[in-house]
Symmetry: C2
Subunit: 353 residues, 2 copies
């Protein structure tokens, strides 16, 4: 398709440096799970390595193995740990550090440690309030055979500055930390990096902020926008008579209306929820989505454009400096994270930097 | 990841045969745009070829060229036509038939026809009421140089049996057809194939129905379900005390609650809109989604399971015979089409048949 997604690797590197500037005696890893939030783990990790990042987090073992095949020199931590002895051996053989989320996962590693007669590097993730993954037993936890690199947990309400649960989780993390003297702690995601140093400990794990999402709650976004999604105009028309636009005939257009059809649809990650809500930008003007979004196409109201603009324009901005990932997420009733991870494979990715 | 998507190619072939059984003196093509609605154009087209399908539709030129590289013998029609002379030449060189949607697109083809001194095969798509792509001029249309294989249009309200617009569009198609005597007509998508033979003409273009979606409006689905999405349980727990689950702490779980964490999230296409609405199936029981859906994980209420079931189970059904693509689409406030095209790349696809 002619629509394309430009990803500015220099901006990702700059965002990593902004994160680091918030830190004191704390190292920043980078979350590049879900194919670096949809932006491509290979180029993104290259850019982050150049910016000084040495530790990367993936969600699954497959992602970790692919990243290891791509780069032999970085430290890789895999958030879901592994689900079998076979997967554990693959991680060990590829020098990947599992994040162990349960006593069952710990046991698998311990058995291998005994068989191989050596300490195995691992991270323990503790449940402190998110209720998703994590070890619930803390006292008398048996972790013999493991060389603990970090202990960690994850906030449920990092986006809410004054959430009581944040303070409870932080308190629990401190209590757990006392049981593991000398073991560094990994705790903060993008939001909590920017909310308070109290959450920083020894290692932070930004993700969304690196990709341009706003990690602060009520403040202007301190990060650089990273993506620019350019929707190609496949058809321009000025209606000769009133008619409806799109499936279900739900938008009534008038005679004389200027309309663009864009080669981009929900199969490319432009969420159908953006019907009656989304807009594109061109010449600093908003072009509202009209009619239902199709699988491969969408329509825009281009009435705001002057005749010259209407005739000259070839692409509209669907995401970028003028319409951010956060804004589109909000319009779709979701979050910018989902906007990023939904970006489809059909749209060509062009990397800058 | 351990979650996996099983795609039954025999069922896709069976669905194609069901479509054909509705036809009389009409040929059925197959829409395999958007990577065969997310299911993989290569295996899907192979299965459809074996079932007797000879004509395939893609949306973009890239898709058409990839499909041609995969199969030299099928007829390929590309819905968006092409956007430049270069793309036109690529289509011509690869024996791909463009669907021309505007007089501008026709002119590009005519110029090449003159240069190459031969008639070029093409299809003309006319705007009859969808307002998306299509030629609006019908009388005195200059199509010299083109060897017209079909003329076509597309319904806006095929899902509504009694929509007045359906009848208007059908009427227009008949009127346009009179201007192109002897040229076969391509008109019906999945829905209109099943609603009435009036829409069939010479070529129909099913898509969604082939992939198991219900093409009838109020009747039980005559198609076979094609996909089975198996969510892997990465953690089972019985809560030792009440706590909240997931981001934002929006679900209050009670002491004794049985909870599964599944290795599948919105980055894999399980739409965040399914929060408070989605469910998985296991042992013929519904396991509701609890808490917000994460990027790589989601949580389920497993209280309905017996102790034995709770202990034995490894996977839950997120899509399949017991929870259809249509149902999940409805729950998410969208359509099954978007559920299919959102299925992420991280989940391994296993093909049956």
């Amino acid at each position: 398709m002619n629509s394309f997604l430009e990803i500015d690797l220099n901006k990702i590197a700059a965002n990593y440096r902004i994160v680091c500037s918030k830190l004191q005696n704390t190292i920043s890893a980078a979350a590049i799970k879900a194919n670096a939030y949809g932006l491509g783990y290979a180029p993104v990790s290259n850019a982050l390595v150049k910016a000084g990042c040495k530790i990367f987090l993936t969600a699954t073992t497959d992602e970790a193995l692919a990243l290891r095949a791509h780069n032999q020199n970085i430290e890789i931590q895999v958030l879901h740990g592994m689900h079998s002895k076979e997967q554990a051996l693959e991680l060990i053989n590829n020098n990947i550090t599992p994040i162990l989320n349960s006593t069952q996962q710990i046991k698998i590693y311990q058995e291998i440690a005994i068989q191989q007669s050596k300490l195995l590097p691992a991270i323990l993730n503790f449940e402190t309030g998110l209720g998703r993954l994590g070890i619930t037993e803390t006292e008398n936890l048996d972790y013999e055979g493991l060389n603990l690199k970090y202990i960690m947990s994850h906030l449920a309400c990092a986006e809410e500055l004054n959430s009581e649960l944040n303070h409870i989780q932080l308190q629990r993390m401190h209590e757990i930390s006392k049981l593991f003297p000398g073991i560094p702690v990994s705790f903060a995601n993008s939001n909590s990096i920017f909310s308070s140093r109290d959450y920083h400990f020894q290692l932070v794990r930004p993700g969304y902020a690196l990709y341009g999402g706003n990690p602060t709650i009520l403040s202007p976004n301190p990060m650089h926008p990273v993506v620019s999604l350019q929707g190609y105009i496949v058809q321009k028309k000025i209606l000769q008579q009133a008619q409806t636009i799109g499936y279900g005939a739900l938008y009534q257009a008038q005679k004389g209306d200027k309309i663009f059809t864009i080669e981009y649809g929900y199969a490319d990650g432009y969420l159908r929820a953006l019907f009656q809500k989304g807009y594109a930008m061109a010449y600093n003007k908003k072009l509202p989505v009209i009619g239902k979004i199709s699988m491969d196409l969408m329509s825009l109201d281009a009435n705001e454009l002057t005749e010259t603009e209407f005739n000259e324009i070839k692409y509209v901005e669907l995401l970028g400096d003028n319409i951010t990932v956060d804004e589109v997420g909000k319009l779709a009733g979701t979050i910018g994270y989902e906007v990023l991870t939904s970006l489809g494979a059909r749209c060509k990715r062009i990397y800058k930097g």
